[in-house]
């Protein structure tokens, strides 16, 4: 290090490497605003992560001015390599259909790391940076346990548990956590009491994360995942304040902003407030529309194939059912076949279709669907009246006309893909089960609608074969 020190003092290099890292994060995220540059952006951001890791390991000194001892340095390197290998293997092996789980899991580990770092720092210097330390512990723990539950739910390991009392339980948890935090901040407590209270906060926050995500059901997942993502960023920011480290502060805030913006957009796409998602729940209530809706008409596979083959314009509306059935490749096959027969095929993507923001886009991208064919709701809606056939695959609430017609419906006011304006509608569905919102979908009873019952994968396979044999 001596040679470096003569040119530039080590601490200058170290501090400015954090600035460089922060700049790379911003630049990387900026590049991610277009599909063509996005991959490069991600690589820049990754570089922004590796640089401060190396400089910290080589140049960091504690308050007494001692650098990192060799033994500790070796431990850092080994832990990092093992963590890096495990993380990479997990990320490489995961199927694209399981992406929401994976993202939640990594979010959980990030939150946990923030909480643990803040906890150790509290143990070292109980009098330093109390506010940010406490917030780091609380927010990091909530992000960890909440994301683990979200992971479990997306992976079908954890079911939804909802009772009205949960709302009050959560409220009590939140107020208790805030109360204890204030109490500690006001000061004047002995170290033992404070330590006890900090560990109580840790425990309470972990439990709160569980009880807060537990009652939130499937279709609200995009909101919750975005929210948890933003929490883990804020936790990292708090830890960054403990070290007065700009890379951590800025990086954390960028994540916090990204998560918050996505949360707001997801809420808007469902016409619900964040509070409503967190404390309220679909289902149960709002059963206004159970009146006789009419009869459902089925269509045979060959009729469906003929109808599609002679259409000039087809719009496919994918939903979570497509992801569950892992039928994205067959969906692309159908699209290609119809294009060969001269039809124009597009996809209509609702912002909250699936289980995380942009879920359907990733799924279809995996199946090699060109992204130019993926249309956002507001762009495709005006085209629907002159669309010959709309094919709805495993989507339900996002095409439910009750959101426009029925003020008593729980989804009234939610922007939808206006499938009913098309000339013909084919709905692929496993059965007459209701969507997540547990409300009747009058679209299925529409005169223009024909149903194809069955698992999306089987149905699409048969349909592709039919179209081929025409």
């Amino acid at each position: 290090m001596d040679t470096i020190n003569t040119i530039l003092p080590a601490n200058v290099i170290l501090e400015y490497s954090y600035l460089l890292s922060a700049i790379l994060f911003v630049y990387g995220l900026k590049l991610q605003s277009h599909p063509d540059n996005a991959r490069r952006g991600n690589q820049w951001a990754a570089a922004g992560m590796i640089i401060p890791m190396i400089t910290t390991l080589l140049l960091h000194k504690n308050q007494t001015g001692a650098g990192i001892p060799l033994v500790n340095g070796v431990a850092v390197v080994i832990t990092t390599i093992v963590g890096g290998i495990v993380g990479t293997i997990m990320a490489r092996k995961i199927k694209m259909t399981a992406m929401p789980q994976m993202v939640s899991f990594f979010n959980a580990t990030g939150g946990a790391a923030s909480a643990v770092v803040a906890l150790i720092e509290f143990n070292k210097n109980p009098d330093q940076a109390v506010l940010v330390g406490l917030l780091g512990i609380i927010i990091g723990s909530i992000a960890f346990s909440g994301s683990m539950i979200a992971y479990g739910k997306l992976d079908d390991k954890v079911g939804d548990i909802f009772s009205k009392s949960m709302t009050y339980v959560n409220l009590v948890f939140m107020l208790t956590i805030m109360g204890i935090t204030l109490f500690v901040l006001l000061g004047g407590l002995s170290l033992e009491t404070r330590t006890f209270l900090v560990y109580s906060l840790l425990t309470l926050s972990l439990i709160y994360g569980v009880s807060f995500v537990m009652p939130i059901g499937g279709a609200d997942m995009p909101v919750v995942i975005s929210l948890l993502n933003s929490l883990s960023g804020i936790a990292a920011t708090m830890a960054g304040f403990i070290y007065k480290n700009e890379a951590m502060i800025l990086g954390g805030i960028l994540v916090g902003s990204a998560g918050t913006i996505l949360t707001i957009q997801m809420c808007r796409a469902m016409n619900r407030s964040l509070l409503n998602v967190i404390i309220g729940s679909f289902g149960g209530g709002g059963m206004a529309h159970t009146s006789e809706a009419g009869t459902v008409k089925e269509i045979s596979m060959s009729d469906a194939a003929i109808l599609l083959s002679y259409s000039a314009k087809v719009v496919i509306v994918p939903g979570y059912g497509l992801a569950v059935a892992k039928a994205q490749h067959l969906c692309h096959d159908l699209e290609k076949l119809l294009e060969e027969k001269g039809a124009e095929v597009k996809y209509a993507i609702h912002p909250v279709a699936g289980r995380m923001p942009g879920h359907m886009n990733v799924l279809l991208a995996e199946a090699d669907v060109p992204y130019g064919k993926l249309m956002e709701m507001d762009d495709i809606n005006p085209e629907l009246p002159n669309t010959d056939v709309v094919v709805i695959i495993g989507a339900n609430d996002v095409v439910n006309p009750a959101s426009e017609d029925d003020p008593s419906s729980p989804i009234y006011g939610m922007p939808i893909i206006k499938a009913r304006e098309a000339k013909n509608i084919i709905v692929m569905k496993r059965g007459m089960g209701k969507g997540y919102a547990a409300i009747e979908n009058l679209l299925f009873f529409n005169d223009k609608t024909r149903m194809l019952f069955g698992d999306a994968k089987g149905t699409l396979q048969n349909l592709v074969n039919e179209v081929k044999s025409l």
């Binding site: 599909p35 990594f106 979010n107 954390g252 902003s257």
Partner: protein, 101 residues
């Protein structure tokens, strides 16, 4: 009250950084189109692994058993987040890229 005004004065720079970063974050991210929302989320998620710097500092100066064990746990988890996050994002973006017509 004195405590509060003192807090705002001593942490003035930090507060400046936070508020300006929030604006920067919103400005950068609000231009991301919805087809890239998942990679954006997972890319941002990887960046939240920046807590790894804290993990390196902790393990780097660990002296007690408590610091050693929890420090290594934190470092390991943060590294999972970093490596996994960037690799998953890269995989997703790769799929978007090759579809250029």
């Amino acid at each position: 009250m004195e405590n509060i005004s003192e807090f705002f004065l001593t942490h003035r720079e930090a507060i400046f950084i936070v508020i300006l970063s929030v604006f920067l974050g919103i400005e950068v991210i609000s231009h991301v189109p919805s087809i890239l929302h998942t990679p954006l989320m997972s890319g941002a998620n990887a960046i939240s692994g920046v807590i790894i710097i804290g993990g390196i500092i902790l393990v780097g100066h660990a002296s007690t058993i408590f610091e050693w064990i929890l420090g290594i746990v934190a470092l390991f988890m943060a590294m999972l987040n970093v490596a996994g996050g960037f690799v998953v994002t890269d995989r997703m973006l790769e799929m978007f890229k090759k579809k250029k017509k």
